[in-house]
Every structure is written in C-alpha cells, then in structure tokens.
C-alpha cells in the first residue's frame, strides 16, 4: 500500500488527536480523530489496498496479480515514427492504453522518457478516465537533442483514490529502443585527398568532378576558379571564360580517429569535445562516403573500437551507429591506438584525429610516428577549455594558463607537419577544416 504524505499527515494527526483527547478527556478531539480515521479507512477500503499491504513482500517480488486486481488488466502498446533519427530530430510516439477490465478506471499514465529528451508536442503524462473494455491513444512528439541509444518506457500507471490519500502503481514493461545519430554538417569541398592513388582491382569509374588528371567537363568560369584551369582556346571560340573540370583521380582510404576517453566529456552535456568530435566524424564520414571514398573509424576510450574501411551508404550507417554509442570512459593513450592501427593502414592514407588533446602525454610521439610514415595527418581539436570557460566553470587565470599550455602543444604538433585546428565552440566544421588545411 502506498501512502501519500497527505494520508500520513491525516493518520498521524488522527492518532495524535485521539491520544491527546484521551489524555485531556476531551470529547471534541476524540471525535475529530474518529472522523479522520473513518475518512482514511473508507478511502483505503475503496482503493482495495489490503491485498498489497497484507503480502509483506518487496515491490520487485510482486507479480502482476499481487500488484492489485485493479491494475492487472491494463495493457499498453507503443509505436515510434522512426527507429533512427539525427540529433535535433523528432520522434512521434503513439501509445495505446487498453482497459481489459469490465470496470471503468481513473488512471494516471506516464510514459517514461530519457532525461535528455524534450517534449515538443503533446504530453507524456495523462490523467484520464478509461471506460470498461475501452482503449485510448496518446500521441506526443519528442525532440532528441543528443546522440545515443535511447529507450522509451516503461509505462507507469497509477490509480489513486479521489482524495489522493492512497495510490497503487504498476509499470507496464513496454520498451522501444531508438538511435539518435550525431548530426552532420554539409561539407562543400574536398579538403583531404590521398597522395597515393588507391587502385582497385577492376575499374572504379568515379565520374565525378574533382581534383584529378583526366578531363571531365567544360564549364563557365566562376569567381574563385584558379587561373590555370581556364581553357583559353574555348574562350577564344565562345568569347566566355571557360574552365576545364577534371574527373576525380582515385578513391582514398580515410581513417577517422575519435578520442572518446573520459576527459573528452569535460564541459556541459551538450557542448563538449566528444559531442563535437562525434558530429565532426559523422559529417566527415558522410562527406567522404558520398565521394565514394573508403572510410574507417577508430574510437578509443577504455578500449579501442574500430570500423573497417569500406564504402557506401551501409558503411555510413555502421559508422553513425558506432558514433551514436560512443561513451566517454577510460584513458587509452593515442600512441597505443596508432601502434595498433598503423600496420593496417595503406601508406599515404589521410588520417583525421578528433581529440581534445588533453591528459595524454603520448600525443606528440603518436603524431611523430604518423608523420614519419608520411601519413597526411589532420587534427581537429575541440577545446574543452572553451566549453568550460563559456560555462563559467573555469576562472580567468586558470583559463589563460591552460590555454597557453594548449597553444604550445598545438604549435609542437604543427611543427611535426600535422594540420592542427583549434576548433572553437562557435566555429563551423567546414571553417575549422579549412583552417586546419590552410585554405
């Protein structure tokens, strides 16, 4: 039997008045106590709680039958509009509650949502009167602001007496899982290409304009096109400036290395290095795969998780799923990662590291190893200092000292020939990449 605070107050007040009434030999107090007790008892009798109170068992040991006859014949079903959405996307939830009992019930229904979800439309908390053998449909829309694996459920149902003195609760174990992928940014230009063309066995006809040697197309000049690509004979014939477009040369193997150590989650929940890193990895994977490049992902936390290089849309979803599930934990150093993956990467493949560069003394050595083997290394480093400073969790002196240390590390990495971009919170990914690659 679940007592509310109100019923506890009524109960203790009744007992206190009763005892006081007997002590003071006061009829008024005893009468008020008797009325209060009658009030409570009647509410308890009407709520039919005796079965629960008499069992003496813990909540988790109770069967449906023991949870109370009044709740035993309620059922729920849920349907989601999508099982996979991108961050800031919405999911429409349709919850059907059925009352299989021949009695009408006043129910409080709450569909449990993950904490980070926001209700955009409708409500997941409903108070209703559900008639005998009737069903009702509850619809609401949730917004998903953060990537991850999420579960909606269970459905909590509560029946209480009219005065809110006693209640009985039951959880209907109806769960629906869905996945929120990190949101992607549209990257307009190819910033990274392999220095060593990858030759597949069998012809891979890309048929896309891009950096390459074979002629692909002729088009009108657009401001910003390099002068060397102007086709002067065509200009002479047509009187318009025309430029040569070339067919992209080869398919690259792009390796994305995501730092998901515990330190990567420093900062607010929605603005930290890991969130930015996963979004960048998703955007880059989407961009390179759309160019028919081969993309692999290595995520390191307390263990190293990798997705083998592959191409196509399926590979994108494999990578997005891994990114959605990336959890910040552990402290594996970068050099352990590079030592493990280097033998398996094609020579000259571009490597993009997404890391906050904190709490890892092996970073310089790891990047030195990569550069020594002539890997095209780009480091995008979301600064957790900025996140902390913006959230006012870091004072000015601390910020300045840490910032100086970070700048020194970045300079050292640049000195090794890596493209490093200190990615500030308000900066677009494309801008950060352009900065990293010196465009």
């Amino acid at each position: 039997m679940a007592w509310s605070r109100k019923s506890a107050m009524f109960g203790s007040l009744a007992i206190a008045l009763y005892l006081l009434g007997l002590t003071l030999r006061n009829h008024q107090l005893v009468t008020v106590a008797v009325v209060l007790l009658s009030f409570l008892t009647w509410a308890a009798l009407r709520s039919a709680h005796a079965d629960v109170s008499a069992s003496g068992r813990r909540m988790e040991e109770r069967s449906d039958e023991e949870a109370g006859a009044s709740l035993s014949r309620l059922e729920a079903m849920r349907k989601l509009s999508a099982a996979r959405v991108f961050e800031d996307g919405t999911v429409d939830v349709t919850l059907k509650v059925q009352n299989m009992s021949p009695l009408s019930k006043v129910l409080e229904v709450r569909d449990s949502l993950p904490e980070v979800m926001r209700i955009k439309e409708g409500a997941n908390y409903i108070l209703m009167e559900l008639g005998p053998r009737r069903e009702t449909v509850i619809e609401y829309t949730v917004e998903c602001p953060l990537r991850g694996f999420y579960t909606i459920g269970p459905v909590c149902i509560r029946i209480q007496d009219s005065f809110g003195l006693f209640h009985k609760e039951k959880e209907l174990h109806v769960y629906d899982d869905f996945l929120v992928f990190p949101k992607t940014e549209d990257l307009k230009d190819a910033f990274v290409k392999s220095k060593v063309p990858k030759i597949f066995t069998g012809a891979v006809n890309i048929r896309q304009p891009g950096p390459g040697s074979e002629f692909y197309n002729l088009r009108e000049y657009i401001a910003g096109d390099p002068m060397k690509s102007i086709n002067w004979p065509a200009y002479g014939r047509t009187g318009k400036l025309m430029v040569n477009e070339r067919e992209r040369d080869a398919v690259s193997d792009i390796i994305l290395i995501l730092d998901s150590r515990a330190v990567a989650e420093t900062g607010p929940v929605s603005r930290n290095s890991l969130v930015y890193g996963t979004r960048a990895a998703a955007s880059l994977a989407s961009f390179f795969l759309s160019r028919r490049d081969s993309v692999g992902l290595v995520s390191y936390a307390d263990e190293i998780v990798s997705v083998d290089r592959d191409t196509g849309k399926k590979q994108l979803y494999v990578i997005l799923t891994k990114l959605a599930g990336a959890m910040a934990r552990g402290a594996t150093p970068l050099q352990v990662v590079t030592n493990r993956i280097l033998p398996h990467i094609n020579k000259g493949s571009p490597i993009i590291i997404l890391s906050c560069l904190e709490d890892d003394s092996t970073i310089v050595n790891a990047v030195r190893d990569l550069r020594a083997r002539d890997f095209d290394t780009t480091i995008l480093t979301p600064s957790s200092l900025e996140f902390e400073f913006d959230a006012r969790r870091l004072d000015r002196t601390g910020y300045e000292v840490l910032k100086t240390e970070r700048d020194i590390l970045i300079s050292e990495l640049r000195g090794l020939g890596a493209f490093v971009m200190d990615w500030e919170p308000d900066m677009l990914l494309s801008t950060a990449l352009a900065g990293a690659r010196g465009f």
Binding site: T31, V35, S162
Partner: protein, 308 residues
C-alpha cells in the same frame, strides 16, 4: 566571394539561426571576469525542492505557488471551502466553550476573566481569517495555520462530558450530532481546501501542457461523488462510536436487562473512555476486514466477474 542578394551570415543555411564562423574574443570575455574562483550563481542549475508544507499538499508544487488564474472547478471549490469554513467557525464557537482552556485558566489567574474569552474568540477569528486568505490566495501555509488554530481552539482539559456553553441542547443525541457535525466539517474543510490546492496544481499543469487530461468531467464527477459519500460514511462511523454505550447496552439487553441497565448508567461508558472503547471495537472490525483481504477479493470479483 559574397553573391549579390545573398545574406553574408549563415541564417539561410541553418533555419534562420545565425552561426558565427569564428569564436568571440576570449580575451575580451576573460578581461570582463572577476578574479574570484567561486562558482558563479548562474552556473548552478535552479532546482526547486518542495518544502515539507508544500509536499503535504501533494507536492512538488510549482515554485512559490504561482498558479494560473483559477478555473471554474477551482472557483467552485474555493466557494465550497469558504462556506464550510464559515459553518465550521460558527460550530467551533458553539461546541468548544472557553471553560477548561489554558487561556481561560490564564485569564482567571490574572483576574481578568474576559481575557480568556477574548483569546478564544480571537483564535476562532484568526483561524477563519487565515483560512479565508489561504483559500483566496491559494497559499497552503495560511491554510495549515488555519487548521492548527481550529484544532487548538478545542484543546480543553477535563471536558469528558460534552458541554456547550453557547447553545444548550437538552437532547443528548442532538449534542452528539452537533459534535460529529463539527468534526466532519473540520475534516471536510481540510479536504476541500486541499482540493483547492490540488486542482489548482492540476489546472496549471494542464494549461502549461505538462499534463493532458482526458474525460475531465468524469474525473471530476468521481471526486464530487466522493465529497458527498465520504463525510456521510465518516459521520455514521463517528455517531456509532459516540453512541457506543447505547449500542452495547441494547446488545447486552437481549441477554440480560439488568446488565443492560447497568451499562446504560455507567459513568465510564458515558465518558471519553466509552468512546475510546467504541472506537476500538469499530476499528477492530475494520482491521478484520483488511486482514481477510475483503476489499481485494471484492475488487477481484468485480474485475473477473463479468469476464465471461
């Protein structure tokens, strides 16, 4: 190069949201900050933990009890609470004479007898005043003070025999009915004012979209029915316990008229201890009902009865 007619910001790319392509000046921002290493107040999220008083009223309540304007249901409950409170005030004044109270003793001790009466009257008026303000402003703190004052007024020593100083009932039954009416009105006053707060919370939650209510009329009808039935049941139980002496003597009279007469003339059964005995027996019967799980069995029977 910026094209003609196209905005130079990024609002066209991100659903109207302007996203800057470079971070604001950290140095400028840093310079504005103080040298203190204390955690700024706005860095800690505001969490409203309901106070004990709030939680008694079915909390957590909205911070500082900022309810939206009362709807029809809440207004009706406010009016009903007000009416019950007035009746309770009058009845309290009738059934709780000043004699035997601590303030009556104090007035007599200092030789100003009227002081006890003044304090008594003041307590009743204060209870009504606090209740009135609590109902109008829907402030549970004032309501709680009102409850406490209404109870304090009836704190009398040696009031074993029911006595009304302000109104005399010759009939013992009428006296007991008046006493039960006072007790029922007090409990109903507590419940109705509690309902004002509860339904204000519910109404605010509905209007702010936190809760959705289906079949509101049926939900409210059940509450209204309970408001009528429950006090009747409570009154019947209370009358039974107060008239326990008559019930027990009537029962014993079946077997022995002399014993019944003795019981009827018993001073102990007439006193508050008789009521206590009655209460004990009535609630022992209730306990047996609970132990035998009769409500649960009845519920199961209703749930499964018309299944086939």
């Amino acid at each position: 190069m910026a094209q003609k007619g196209v905005s130079s910001d990024t609002s066209h790319l991100y659903d109207g949201k302007v996203v800057r392509s470079s971070a604001p000046s950290r140095k400028a921002l840093a310079a504005k900050m103080t040298g203190s290493s204390d955690i700024p107040e706005d860095a800690v999220p505001e969490v409203h933990i309901p106070s004990f008083v709030e939680s008694l009223f079915g909390g957590p309540l909205v911070p500082k009890m900022k309810f939206l304007p009362a709807d029809k249901m809440v207004q009706t409950l406010q009016m009903a609470s007000g009416a019950v409170m007035i009746m309770l005030g009058v009845l309290t004044y009738i059934v709780t004479p000043v004699s035997g109270t601590a303030w009556f003793w104090f007035g007599e001790t200092i030789g100003v007898e009227v002081l006890g009466l003044a304090i008594h009257l003041l307590l009743v008026l204060a209870a009504i005043g606090c209740g009135f303000w609590g109902i109008i402003s829907r402030d549970s703190r004032f309501l709680l003070i009102s409850y406490v004052l209404f109870i304090i007024v009836s704190f009398r020593f040696a009031a074993s025999k029911v006595s009304f100083e302000w109104l005399s009932f010759d009939d013992e039954l009428l006296q007991k009915i008046a006493l039960v009416a006072y007790a029922v009105l007090l409990v109903m006053y507590i419940e109705l004012t509690n309902g004002v707060i509860r339904f204000s919370m519910l109404d605010t939650s509905i209007r702010t979209g936190e809760v959705y209510v289906m079949n509101v009329k049926k939900v409210l009808t059940k509450y209204h029915i309970s408001l009528v039935i429950t006090p009747i049941i409570a009154a019947v139980v209370a009358i039974t316990t107060l008239l326990f002496k008559d019930v027990i003597s009537g029962f014993v009279g079946i077997f022995s008229e002399i014993s019944a007469l003795r019981l009827e003339e018993s001073v102990e059964l007439e006193s508050v201890y008789g009521v206590a005995l009655g209460t004990m027996i009535v609630f022992m019967l209730v306990a047996i009902v609970f132990v035998a799980d009769i409500p649960g069995r009845y519920q199961k029977m209703r749930e499964g009865g018309s299944d086939e």
